[in-house]
C-alpha cells in the first residue's frame, strides 16, 4: 500500500528526514516510536502533503501512485488520513459543515454519490456513538473550546467518517485519560480491516496494548534505526532509547 524509499525532507532548509525506508501493506499496523524531535511528525506531515515540508530526495508510492506529486486534498481523497498531533481550531465552521464537506469531496473524487442529509446524519450517529461523543458537538465549531482529549477523539471521528485506506495517527493517545484511551483505541480497532493500514506514532507502549502493532520502528535523528515486532515496544519501555544508539545497531528496515 505504502512504499517509502530513501525519503529525505527539509523544514525551513534544515534536513529532518535523512533517508527513510518503510513499507506498509494492507492489513498491517505499524508503530513508530522515537525521542522528541526525531522527525515522527515530520514524516506524518510529509506523507499527508504539508507544504511546509520539502521532499528533497526519495520516493513515496501509495497504491502505486507517486504521492509527492499529489496535492494534500488529493492525497486525502486517495485515502491518506492524518490525525494531527495538534488538531487545529476553526471558529465559525461547524463540525457538521466540516465533516459533510470533507465526506462529499472524498466521495465525489471517487465517483460515489454525495451523502444525503439523512445518510450523513445516520453515519455520523453511528460513528460518534463508537467514540461516545455528545451529539451536541456537531453544531459546535471545529475543535473550538474542545479539551485536548476531545480534539483527539474528533480526529478519530473524522477518520471513521472518511474511511481512509491509510491512517496516520500522530500521538493520538497523548493527553487522553485511561477511559478515553480505551474508547479511541476501540475506534481505531473498529476502523481496522484487511484492506486498510494504520501507522501509529506514539511515545507509550500502553497504547499498543489496545492497538496491537505488527511492526514497531524506532525513529532517531531522521532515520529508522531499528525495527521489530510488538515486543520491541516493551523493550523500549523498559530500557529507553539509549541502548539502541549505544549498540549502534543500525538496522534499516526493508
Amino acid at each position: 500500500m505504502l512504499v517509502i524509499k530513501n525519503l529525505k525532507a527539509n523544514v525551513e532548509g534544515k534536513e529532518i528526514l535523512k533517508g527513510i525506508n518503510l513499507e506498509i501493506k494492507a492489513g498491517e499496523v505499524h508503530a513508530i516510536m522515537g525521542p522528541n524531535g526525531s522527525g515522527k511528525s515530520t514524516l506524518a506531515n510529509v506523507l499527508a502533503g504539508n507544504g511546509g515540508y520539502e521532499v528533497t530526495e526519495g520516493e513515496i508510492y501509495f497504491e502505486g501512485k507517486d504521492l509527492v506529486e499529489l496535492a494534500p486534498e488529493d492525497r486525502a481523497r486517495e485515502g491518506v488520513f492524518l490525525a494531527f498531533q495538534y488538531p487545529i481550531e476553526i471558529p465559525g465552521i461547524s463540525n457538521a459543515t466540516f465533516l459533510k464537506t470533507a465526506l462529499n469531496e472524498v466521495r465525489k473524487y471517487n465517483g460515489q454519490p454525495e451523502a444525503t442529509p439523512k445518510e450523513f446524519m445516520e453515519l455520523l450517529r453511528e460513528k460518534s456513538g463508537v467514540l461516545g461523543m455528545d451529539p451536541q458537538f456537531i453544531s459546535r465549531s471545529v475543535n473550538v473550546g474542545f479539551s485536548g482529549g476531545e480534539k483527539k477523539r474528533n480526529e478519530i471521528l473524522q477518520m471513521l467518517m472518511l474511511q481512509p485506506k491509510l491512517a496516520l495517527l500522530d500521538e493520538t493517545d497523548s493527553g487522553l485519560d485511561i477511559d478515553a484511551l480505551k474508547i479511541v483505541s476501540s475506534g481505531v480497532n473498529v476502523f481496522k480491516n484487511k484492506d486498510n493500514a494504520v501507522l501509529l506514532v506514539t511515545h507509550y507502549q500502553r497504547l499498543l496494548n489496545y492497538i496491537v502493532p505488527d511492526f514497531v520502528h524506532v525513529l532517531s535523528k531522521g532515520r529508522i534505526i531499528k525495527s521489530g515486532g510488538k515486543e520491541l515496544a516493551l523493550e523500549l519501555e523498559e530500557k529507553g532509547y539509549d541502548w539502541i544508539k549505544n549498540d549502534e545497531l543500525i538496522e534499516e528496515n526493508v
Partner: protein
C-alpha cells in the same frame, strides 16, 4: 431627476479634508471631488419602486420598513404598521413639523462639525431618519431602513441626517442598509446622532452595500447616559471610497459600548474606519472588535482612539483590530491611539495583520477539501467572531453570505 442647475453642489466650497489633515492622512478624497453633484431630491412618483426595492431588504424576520431615496424619506414605500403609539419613526422633515421642541432638544446637540463633510451634511441636509423611543418603551421589531442612492444619469449627492432618541429604559434595534443604483458616480454623506438615555439599549447595525462607483462617508456620534448600552455593528462591502467615523461619548457611570466592525474590500476599494470612544466618567466599559478582509489592490485604514479622561477611574476599555490580506497588493494602515489620563484603568489594544493561516489551510485540505473551499472556510473563521455578535439570527447568515458573494468566493454555510 430634473437637471436643475440650482441644485448643483460645488464641493470646493466645503473645505473638505486633505491628506495633510492627520485624521485623513491615508484617505485621499480627491477622487470624490472630480464630479459635480446634484442634491438628491424626492423622485415624486416612487410607487413603481416598491417591488424593485424589496429585494434589498434583509429577509426572513419581522421588521418595520423605512425607505429613503437619495436621502429623502419615501413614505409610500415605508411600512410602519403596528408600531406602538408613542414611538415615532419618521422623516426628519415631518418630525420637525410635529415635534419641533423635542427635535431642538436633541438635533445637533451631540455631533460637532469636525470637517468639511460634516459641514456639507449640515448645510444641505433637509431630511433623514428620526427614531424616537419614549421612556420605558421597547420597539418590538428591528427597524430596517433602506437608503437607496444614486441615479442613472446624474451624479447625486445624498445627505441624510439621522437622529435616534432612546429615552430612559427604552430599547431599539435599527438596521441601516445602504444600497445604490447602477449608474453614475454618487456620494452619500451621512451624519447620525444617537442619544442613549439612562438604562437604554440601542443596537445600530450598518450594512453598507453601495455601488462600486460610489463614495460613502458617515459620522455616527453617540451620547450615552448612565447604565446605557450602545452596540454598533458596522459592515462595509461596497463603495469605492468609504469613511466611517464611529464615536461615542460615555458621559456618566456604568455605561457600556461595543463597536463591532467587519470590512471587506477588493479591487481598488478603500475603506477607512475611525472610531473614538470618549470615557468621561468612572466605571464604564467599552469594547471594540474590528476585522478587515482585503483582497486585490484594496486598502484599509483603521484608527481607534480611546480617550480616558481624568475622572474616568475604573474604566475598562478594550480594542482589537485585525486584518487579513488575501493578496500581495492589498494594504492596511492601522493605528491605535490610547490617551489615558486616569490612573486606575484597564485598557488593552491589539492589532494584527497577516495572511490566512497555512497550518489551518493544510488541516482543512488534509480532509479532502479543495483549496478554494479551504480558503473560504478560513475567511469565515476569521470573520466569525464579529458576525456572531449579530443578535438577529437571520441577519447573521445573510451577512455571512454577503462576505463570500462580495469576495467572489465559494460560500461556506453552516447547516
Amino acid at each position: 431627476m430634473g437637471n436643475d442647475l440650482l441644485n448643483m453642489i460645488e464641493l470646493r466650497d466645503f473645505n473638505l479634508p486633505t491628506t495633510k489633515n492627520e485624521d485623513w492622512k491615508y484617505t485621499n478624497v480627491a477622487p470624490i471631488m472630480k464630479y459635480n453633484y446634484v442634491l438628491g431630491t424626492s423622485l415624486g412618483n416612487e410607487d413603481h419602486l416598491s417591488s424593485v426595492l424589496d429585494e434589498y431588504f434583509f429577509q426572513d424576520f419581522d421588521y418595520y420598513k423605512v425607505v429613503f431615496i437619495n436621502g429623502i424619506f419615501a413614505g409610500k414605500l415605508s411600512d410602519l404598521t403596528g408600531l406602538e403609539s408613542g414611538i415615532i419613526v419618521d422623516s426628519l422633515s415631518n418630525f420637525q413639523k410635529n415635534n419641533s421642541e423635542l427635535l431642538s432638544k436633541h438635533l445637533n446637540k451631540y455631533s460637532a462639525i469636525d470637517n468639511g463633510f460634516n459641514e456639507l451634511n449640515n448645510s444641505l441636509s433637509s431630511d433623514g431618519l428620526v427614531v424616537y423611543v419614549p421612556k420605558g418603551k421597547v420597539v418590538d421589531k428591528p427597524i430596517q431602513v433602506l437608503y437607496f442612492n444614486g441615479d442613472k444619469t446624474e451624479n447625486v449627492l445624498s445627505v441624510p441626517k439621522n437622529l435616534i432618541i432612546a429615552e430612559e429604559n427604552s430599547q431599539v434595534s435599527i438596521i441601516a442598509n445602504y444600497h445604490g443604483i447602477k449608474g453614475k458616480e454618487y456620494l452619500t454623506n451621512v451624519v447620525t446622532e444617537v442619544y442613549a438615555g439612562k438604562n437604554s439599549i440601542v443596537d445600530l447595525y450598518k450594512i453598507q452595500l453601495e455601488e462600486e462607483n460610489s463614495f460613502h462617508i458617515e459620522k455616527v456620534q453617540a451620547y450615552q447616559e448612565s447604565n446605557s448600552l450602545f452596540n454598533h455593528y458596522n459592515f462595509t462591502f461596497g463603495g469605492s471610497i468609504t469613511r466611517n467615523d464611529i464615536n461615542t461619548c460615555l458621559n456618566d457611570e456604568n455605561i457600556e459600548s461595543h463597536f463591532y466592525g467587519l470590512y471587506l474590500a477588493h479591487k481598488n476599494q478603500h475603506v477607512d474606519n475611525h472610531t473614538f470612544v470618549d470615557h468621561a466618567m468612572p466605571n464604564c466599559m467599552s469594547n471594540e472588535l474590528y476585522k478587515g478582509i482585503l483582497d486585490g489592490e484594496s486598502r484599509g485604514v483603521f484608527n481607534g482612539k480611546i480617550l480616558v479622561r481624568r475622572d474616568a477611574q475604573k474604566t475598562n476599555a478594550y480594542q482589537s483590530n485585525k486584518a487579513v490580506l488575501l493578496s500581495k497588493s492589498a494594504v492596511i494602515d492601522t493605528k491605535p491611539q490610547l490617551e489615558i489620563f486616569a490612573d486606575d484603568v484597564k485598557c488593552s489594544h491589539g492589532a494584527a495583520v497577516g495572511q490566512l493561516d497555512e497550518d489551518s489551510e493544510f488541516y482543512i485540505k488534509s480532509r479532502g477539501i479543495p483549496q478554494d473551499i479551504a480558503k473560504s472556510m478560513l475567511i469565515r473563521a476569521f470573520a466569525a467572531d464579529v458576525i456572531e455578535k449579530i443578535k438577529i439570527d437571520e441577519l447573521r447568515e445573510q451577512i455571512n453570505h454577503l462576505v463570500f458573494e462580495h469576495l467572489n468566493r465559494v460560500e461556506v454555510k453552516n447547516n
